[in-house]
Amino acid sequence: MQRSDLESAPAASADWPDQIFDLLKAYNVKQVALVPDAGHSRLIKRCLADNEMRVVTLTTEEEGVAMMAGAWLGGQRSVLLMQSSGVGNCINMLSLATLHRTPMPMLVTMRGDFGEFNPAQVPMGQATQPVLEAMGTLVNRADKPEDISACVEATLKFAYNTYRATATLIGQRVIGAKTFGKD
């Protein structure tokens, strides 16, 4: 078993991470908060290489929610990148978006979803969408590579135009489910 098999990452040929990056640029996103996920690794590299984006690596995802509130106070657009387990760390902090009507788009790579191998990912992965919705987040899912760009654009538009928390869940089916040779 390869170490890289422990995490799900898109194939090198997949171009949807680049499409997401182009959308973040088109929508003038200046602050990118994240806790790394293998599924976002290519997008993170693109953001790090961009001089106009401030990439902030967090110790826990809820920090990113608070940071998005501060960014908006100061007139900058932000986004939070995380894996589905990180959504659980954000729950109470998402109150900020509802209370203040703050744009908070989140791009979530799913685990514990389609063809998961790691039992520890399943409880939060299965709860990700209900938990976000319980906190007033508008959620859409992309389970095919060709859906990702449209879903992410809707998530950005909805957040910035209507002032709320929004999320695209990028299904494990598109990212690549790892099975450690047990399939």
Binding site: A66, L73, T98, R101
Partner: protein, 199 residues
Amino acid sequence: MLSANGKLHRRPLVGAVLEGRGDMAVIAGLGASAWDITAIGDTALNFPLWGAMGGAAMIGLGLAIAQPERAVLVITGDGEMLMGVGSLATIAVQAPKNLSILVLDNEHYGETGMQETATGHGVDLLAMARGAGIKHSMLVTRPDEVPGLRAAIHARSGPFVALAKIDPETLPLVLPPREGVILQSRTRAAILGPAADLE
């Protein structure tokens, strides 16, 4: 400014720090810190929190990055800072010059009935800040240190973290607006101008 037991009174301390604040934006952690900044004077550049426990410092970071020329001060309690203690590491790495954090350490969770926090048992939040990589820090226990504290906050040579040991007193409530949309909108307008509401 000192109480009978030799600790700083929180409101005169906050008042002295905010004296001549100019266009400084101030985020206050939930509870007593929010009442303190409101007692000193509620302005559009105050962003008092009603919740989001553990998030005050990171709201400060997002704002400080967005507005690098403006001094941003986070005033918060020891309990609130302990809940978001990891953000000290995040902030140290980002190293915004214009961000200061003032922890009002009464060694208690004041708002919920004065239960003890860890700082009353030897946990040193300033040492944690230094360990996180915050290079500019200050412990404040006496009134004669307050002018230096104020100067350090206004100097914008941060990230700067100060911790003031304060009296665990319960003061009269002085409440800011509770409506979150008003709080956000007024601060955005003060920082970005009236067009902020059309963004």
